[in-house]
């Protein structure tokens, strides 16, 4: 498998063309000061070279279609092919975003029904599909909280409370919305420290951002009490939907007291991760935040479906993209939701939870240490390899890299930051028992190896296209674009 992979630029030969893909055109009749002197130096390669190069590159990836991918907090479940095929129908792909609603009634019907499904399954009063990613959904959510306080003339609320276990996007989002992020500690059982929360809330509190189940892989048991504390202080509750897969169809964020929520459709609703996007991060809100939802929103009226825009939603926080969102992702999520139906949604949470608890039980029996041994796993859980790091000098990153040699993608490592040498493991509901057993066997094998020949683990991976990469050099001698000469600057 190990072989060099020359860049597409190294395969380029001056004068090679693919004339089939661009028409003949006269020289432009434009004044020379506007024109580019030479065509950009893109690769000059044949269509076969392109197809072969990018097909071969694809084979240098791990992916759900080829590997178990238990990446915690990322919900790497099977992405049904039907979702792709049905979303990529030519008339959906050909539609211009500014075309009249009359030419998009089929699309809008899907989007409207998706809004309704998401509303029901989260227990919220309104949904906007506009945010293009989870982090943009977070931004929209906190911007709505701010709009709500501002509309009431309540301008002194400057703080957003964020548990220390939260995703990094939470505090970053609070800052983007002009708030100060204030951390709330977690207690030894993985729940929010209620005494610290009570001490932190006050007239400066705009809201609390919470992931439930948390990134520690446990359900926040006192959520009702947390909601009461924050609401009594005049703040609102934001639900980070990163872990919704754990409770889909079982418990609704709206019923837990949340005022606003974002969903990651690329997690819970199984749209593809695509090597890092595109995602979609719809937001749902309770009664109080309805006027502030980002636009556009699909409405169903007697004459058909149409987009609600500025004139319909004067208090909206506004637009997040030029054209209204990642429609292709939304269509895939819609297809998935219809295939599952209401019973299928509850089953997602059930089997995701079953798989996680089974994997936890097996790993524990194999001698691995859970971070929260007294707690149930939700759809994910944490083990800590601090003992291995201390006694054997083999850390979580070494285990992660060695798992790759077993043909298994590594779990999330070193997140959350609270647990030393941690693995955050999320098997998802679409994996079968044999796969989980194979993961346990691989972990046990690596453990034995760490005890007998730790160097093998510490220098892993050994069977991938490259061995362990020098990240320090990557950051110090920044090489971000390919150049002809071997001698590069810096």
């Amino acid at each position: 498998m190990k072989h060099d992979s020359p860049s597409i630029f190294e395969q380029s030969r001056a004068g090679r063309r693919n004339p089939a893909h661009s028409p003949r055109a006269p020289d432009p009749d434009l004044p020379p000061e506007y024109l580019r002197r030479e065509a950009p130096a893109l690769p000059q390669v044949s269509e076969l070279q392109v197809v072969r190069h990018y097909t071969r590159l694809s084979q240098r990836n791990f992916a759900i279609d080829t590997q178990f991918y238990p990446l915690g907090s990322c919900t790497m479940k099977y992405n049904p092919r039907a979702c792709n095929t049905l979303a990529m129908q030519p008339s959906f792909l050909a539609r211009h975003p500014l075309a009249p609603a009359a030419t998009g009634q089929g699309l809008l019907a899907c989007l409207y029904e998706l809004q309704e499904i998401l509303k029901t399954v989260t227990g919220m009063q309104g949904v906007s599909l506009a945010p293009m990613a989870g982090a943009q959904g977070e931004f929209a959510g906190i911007a709505m909280i701010r709009a709500y306080h501002d509309a009431r003339g309540d301008h002194d609320r400057r703080e957003i409370l964020v548990p220390d276990a939260a995703h990094g996007t939470n505090p970053a989002t609070a800052v983007m919305c002009g708030y100060v992020a204030r951390e709330i500690p977690t207690d030894s059982q993985g729940d929010v420290d209620l005494a610290a929360l009570r001490a932190a809330v006050g007239p400066q509190t705009a809201g609390l951002m919470l992931t439930n189940p948390s990134t520690l892989g446990v359900f926040e048991r006192r959520i009702t009490e947390i909601a009461r504390i924050v609401h009594e202080a005049g703040g609102l509750l934001y639900y980070d939907g990163a872990n919704l897969n754990a409770i889909l169809g079982k418990v609704r964020p709206g019923d837990m007291g949340f005022d606003v929520i974002h969903l990651n459709l690329h997690k819970t609703f199984s749209t593809p991760h695509g090597g890092g996007g595109p995602g979609a991060g719809p937001v749902g809100v309770g009664e109080r935040l309805l006027p502030y939802l980002p636009i556009p929103i699909v409405a169903k009226e007697e004459q058909g479906y149409r987009w609600l825009e500025e004139a319909d939603c004067p208090q909206s926080i506004g637009r997040l993209s030029a054209f209204g969102g990642n429609m292709g992702v939304l269509l895939r999520a819609y297809v998935y939701a219809r295939l599952l139906g209401r019973e299928g949604m509850g089953r997602v949470a059930e089997y995701a939870t079953l798989n996680a608890n089974y994997l936890l039980a097996r790993l524990r029996a194999a001698g691995f240490e859970p971070a929260f041994p007294e707690r149930r796993a939700t759809h994910e859980f944490i083990i800590t390899l601090k003992r291995q790091a201390k006694e054997l000098g083999v850390n979580a990153m070494d285990f992660a890299k060695r798992l790759l040699d077993h043909g298994l993608h590594a779990p999330t490592t070193y997140f959350p930051l609270l647990v030393p040498e941690c693995f955050l493991i999320e098997p998802t509901e679409t994996e079968d028992k044999d796969t989980l057993d194979a993961f346990v066997a691989a972990m046990s094998a690596i453990q034995r190896e760490a005890e007998t020949s730790p160097e093998v683990v510490k220098t892993a991976p050994h069977t991938l296209p490259v061995r362990r990469l020098d990240d320090v050099r990557a950051a110090r001698e920044l090489d971000l674009v390919w150049e002809e000469t071997a001698e590069k600057r810096e």
Binding site: N61, G106, N357
Partner: protein, 457 residues
């Protein structure tokens, strides 16, 4: 059960290993009063065959007319190989390349993408993409304020010739950070900024945004604008159509020094219209500013054996490390769209992109010739254009004309008045039209004949 592989026997074995009586027992930490939500409003699940029929019927209902509409999203030929390769499971179902050794395919592709974009823009570095053009401009504005501390200003000069939706998105995203957007009026004759109208009264400011082509399709005097801005201590943010940059002077060559940041909508590079997304935003900048650039960046490095490999780098800028001090809350790029764009650019090459851009320009010129021959139709502006023009209609209403064209199965363009009614009432009864390389001479004739009839009726 869709997508759940468990047999009953396996479930029993798994519960026994856990020591639980039932799956339900695994939820025993969730307070009972929170359970039992009513989901009856969600339809029951249906099979793939039945759903395929429904989805095909819905797609069939969305027949698409002949497109002369642009305004930030453009119909172009996309080689079949682009999406054939892009939807391979190894790209489609991979995650963000955090485990670099297991993600060399995606990482090398992103590195090649960064190189292609930097070359297309004639800029030094590129990130691995952002969400879309409008949000990329918002991020560029935030970046410019961070990068230009010397200006001691959070004011951004934002011409009215920037796509109005981009202006709205920037406003949504930056308004909470004390940044103000100072609108710049355009010359109503030329349809672009008049560099001579820029005055020191606009200072201090952190950056000037320069669109190329601008929302009306007109070409801005980018050299003069860039030089003015930089002479007064402003950074220049170019917001450009990437396809056009194969033909037009790229941001890195504007003025004496070149633009500082280039961003825009990547859709014209192999991404279908798809009602507005997913697309991707791109961003390039000078090396001097790259630590202020948001989004993922891939670097080339070596492995333990000295073999070339690729990895995410400069992560100290990002939210998962920096949390509340991050350059942005962004934690993704548009990986799959960039996969398509990279393959698209490799297939067309620089010369192919240039030819496509030139064909778009020629088609729009040919369309304009046909249309301005019609009585009561004239170009609204005098500046040179790329592949869009604004038509002024002496009679008839723009909205009425569009309806008439639609009856002839033509998407005739965009009526500008809803976007400009307040600030430019003179743009009443104007249409923004576009003819890309996908339109034939017969298409242009069809449009002209239909418009003639529309204006006679």
């Amino acid at each position: 059960m869709p997508f759940i592989p468990h047999t009953e026997e396996e479930v029993r074995e798994m519960l026994a290993a856990i020591g639980a009586d039932s799956i339900e027992a695994l939820f025993d930490e969730i307070p009972a009063e929170l359970r039992g939500a009513d989901l009856s409003a969600i339809p029951e699940g249906i099979g793939e065959g039945e759903l395929a029929r429904l989805m095909r019927a819905r797609a069939a209902a969305d027949h698409q007319p002949l497109c002369f509409l642009g305004a930030g999203a453009y119909e172009h030929h996309i080689p079949a190989a682009v999406w054939e390769i892009t939807t391979r499971g190894e790209y489609y179902t991979a995650y963000t390349p955090y485990q670099a050794e297991a993600s060399q395919g995606t990482l090398q592709l992103l590195y090649e993408y960064q190189t292609m974009m930097a070359r297309l823009m004639a800029m030094e570095v590129s990130n691995a993409s952002l969400y879309d053009g409008a949000s990329a401009l918002a991020e560029a504005v935030l970046m410019a304020v961070r990068a230009n501390r010397k200006a001691k200003s959070k004011r951004i000069l934002m011409p009215d010739t920037v796509h109005p939706r981009y202006g709205q998105v920037v406003e949504t995203i930056v308004r909470h950070q004390g940044i103000t957007l100072e609108p710049l009026r355009f010359d109503p004759t030329t349809g672009r900024l008049d560099p001579a109208a820029l005055s020191e009264a606009l200072l201090p400011a952190a950056a000037l945004v320069i669109p190329q082509p601008n929302f009306f399709g007109c070409l801005e005097a980018v050299d003069a604008l860039t030089d003015w801005a930089q002479a007064h201590g402003l950074l220049v943010i170019a917001v450009v159509n990437p396809l056009a940059m194969a033909l037009l002077k790229p941001p890195g060559q504007w003025g004496r020094e070149g633009a500082d940041i280039a961003c825009g909508e990547g859709q014209p590079l192999g991404v279908p219209l798809a009602s507005g997304g997913p697309y991707f935003g791109f961003m390039c900048c000078r090396r001097a500013h790259m630590r202020q650039m948001p989004g993922r960046i891939v670097g080339r490095t070596v492995d333990l054996d000295g073999r070339t490999g690729y990895t995410l780098t400069l992560q100290a800028r990002e939210q998962h490390i920096r949390r509340s001090k991050a350059t942005s809350n962004i934690c993704t790029n548009q990986g799959l769209m960039v996969t398509a764009a990279t393959i698209h650019m490799a297939l067309l090459g620089g010369e192919g992109l240039r030819r496509t851009a030139a064909a778009c320009h020629a088609n729009t010129r040919a369309l304009l010739e046909r249309l301005q021959a019609i009585e009561g139709v004239s170009p609204a502006f005098t500046a040179p254009f790329f592949h869009e023009v604004v038509l002024r209609l002496q009679r008839g209403s723009a909205a009425g004309v569009l309806e008439h064209l639609l009856e002839d199965d033509i998407l005739g363009g965009l009526a500008l008045s809803p976007f400009y009614a307040e600030r430019y009432p003179e743009l009443d009864q104007t249409l923004l039209v576009c003819a890309t390389e996908t339109r034939t001479a017969a298409d242009l004739d069809h449009y002209a004949a239909s418009l003639r009839r529309a204006l006679q009726s």
